[in-house]
Symmetry: C2
Subunit: 340 residues, 2 copies
DNA sequence: TTGAAAGCGGTACCAT
DNA sequence: ATGGTACCGCTTTCAA
């Protein structure tokens, strides 16, 4: 036991048949004992022998074999491309994992970086998950939804900026955020508004609709809306700040709090007064945004709770026949602090 | 096709036998065609028929059945408890995922929230992954390593604060970080040093060794080291700042940049001059730390690249017999900005 | 109370 | 060039 098991690669993995042999019973009995099958009475001595044999061999059941036989899994697949950053997101994610586990699902995040919509759906379908919950980073097509359902997925739930045919959709309309931000700036008397567009890949799904929402809000008031590409580094921010006065803007909605903090600092370093000369607003309501001076105004976003989403998953799994629902669950409101 | 498939739950999932029947060939032929088996010649017309049949039925192979037959998987399991926050970590994570996919592994994150070391190892072993890479959030015991290896895992790699018997260990000695931070403060002439201890759960694995490193560095110079519990909210920071002068400290190492930013702001609001009265240093070298004034000094941490880790995984999988290696791969160095 | 055996969905050997 | 079939590990009915 204390010896280095360098031959472990050679030794075959113990199966229930090995346990049965060692305990002197049949494989059926092993299964009954280890699964506590209530429909069958097994004598206590036998139970003990089986348990000891399993322990001694270090037997661990083979999940694939089990679910193959069962014809279904309890796997909930969460496809991820980029691990999303931000405390809002990660709190949601942890909640969801925890809640699903409590409902006896196995939560598996499947890295789908570099797969297109249909290829990804195929790869997911091969795993025969009982449910797929897409957080919107990987585009899900109606065809992809069909593939998943035909492969036995009871629930396909899309959490993201847009609704997908055939899937239950939790629509987080990102346009709301841009809308609220710009509406807030308009209300503060601004009329020439920049909208920061992050250059980092993978954010377009969020930044584009936010810009659209900003445009919508601006159009109603005859305001000017100006997209501003920005990379998440100090040089890019400084460059933008250097040509700021030439842009003729009196306000900026900076995608989220991180970009807002970055840009606000660059503006201040370029001697542009915030908020007097230029108002700044972010989004996400990060704690860190309150640490700068002036305190950063922001758009607070209501996120669905992991608990609620887990309940939806479970409900749809139990009753897959129901029509795909569409919930609009995003609420967003501007929070005035000091930067706008 | 355009009709709502509300009966989809009823329709059985198509198997390769269904494809064979529709194409008028045997299951073997289906397998050959769809896997492009080179050892076998199949006529082009047959190939086409099989492909069309598969397409028409929406056939997707069953990964569990395949790996059951094959006797092994290409799954690399990444257990996660809390999704870690921070750009450093998420960049590493994305890199690792990408690099492993390029090496033809399937990357699966398995949520292990609320499982203890051995229970978690068992749950992982059921999936029969070819490799397990623990990022240190879920404690891995020597016994757990044994379970995994006996279940067929070729590589068990532990990336974390401490080495684990039997596993390849990439030791990121967190003590280094506390050590460097305090050494830096000593060098700046400070002698009474607070060490922020986050109260958020799940961080002890990092905060405790960092404190230990701080103590070690302080002991050599006869400095005073004072642990300071702090929650990640403004109230907690304000409360700590309010009693700051009573603590008699002239410097603080604040766990990481986020806590450092929070505390520094609270100190400033309490009219404690940074760095004159109290020096502040964080860790992680976040971009946001440079946005505060004074700019936050920090400890920069070398993280192993995802690429390198993926290569290690692949190497160990190919040659599982090799003795577990132990790499000390953490480099850390203090970066003087303005807050210390 | 326990055992024998079928079968889940693939793959690959051996025939034909 | 293609088909028949044994087998991977486990669960579950049916018999004994």
């Amino acid at each position: 036991m204390s010896q280095t098991p360098k031959q472990s690669a050679e030794r075959p993995v113990p199966t229930s048949a090995d346990v049965a042999r060692l305990a002197g019973v049949s494989r059926a009995t092993v299964s009954y004992v280890l699964n506590n099958t209530s429909a069958v009475r097994i004598s206590d001595p036998t139970r003990r022998r089986v348990r000891e044999a399993a322990e001694e061999l270090g037997y661990v059941p083979h999940a694939a074999a089990r679910s193959l036989r069962a014809g279904h899994t309890r796997m909930v697949l969460l496809p991820t491309a980029h691990v999303p950053v931000g405390p809002l997101y990660s709190r949601f994610f942890n909640e969801l994992q925890w809640a699903l586990r409590r409902l006896d699902y196995t939560v598996v995040q499947y890295g789908s970086l570099g797969l297109d919509g249909d290829g990804a759906a195929r790869a997911w379908a091969e795993l025969r998950p009982v449910a797929v919950v897409s957080l919107g980073e990987v585009a899900l097509t109606p065809h992809g939804v069909g593939v998943l359902k035909r492969s036995g997925a009871k629930a396909v739930i899309m959490l993201g900026p847009q609704r997908v045919e055939g899937a239950h959709s939790l629509v987080m309309d990102q346009r709301e955020i841009g809308d609220r931000a710009v509406a807030h700036l308009l209300q503060r008397g601004r009329r020439a508004i920049g909208v920061v567009m992050p250059q980092e890949p993978g954010l377009e799904l969020f930044s584009e609709p936010r810009l659209e929402g900003a445009r919508r809000a601006g159009a109603g008031a005859g305001a000017r809306i100006e997209p501003l590409p920005l990379s998440y580094d100090e040089e890019s921010a400084a460059a933008l700040a250097a040509r700021w006065r030439g842009l003729g803007l009196d306000a900026v909605y900076a995608y989220n709090d991180e970009y807002a903090m970055l840009l606000m600092r660059a503006l201040q370093d370029a001697r542009i007064d915030v908020p007097a000369e230029t108002a700044v607003i972010g989004a996400d309501d990060l704690l860190l945004g309150r640490l700068l001076r002036p305190r950063l105004s922001t758009v607070q976003i209501d996120m669905v709770t992991g608990q609620r989403l887990a309940e939806l998953v479970d409900r749809v799994v139990r009753d897959p026949g129901a029509e795909p629902e569409r919930h609009d669950l995003m609420g967003a409101r501007a929070v005035l602090r000091e930067s706008s």
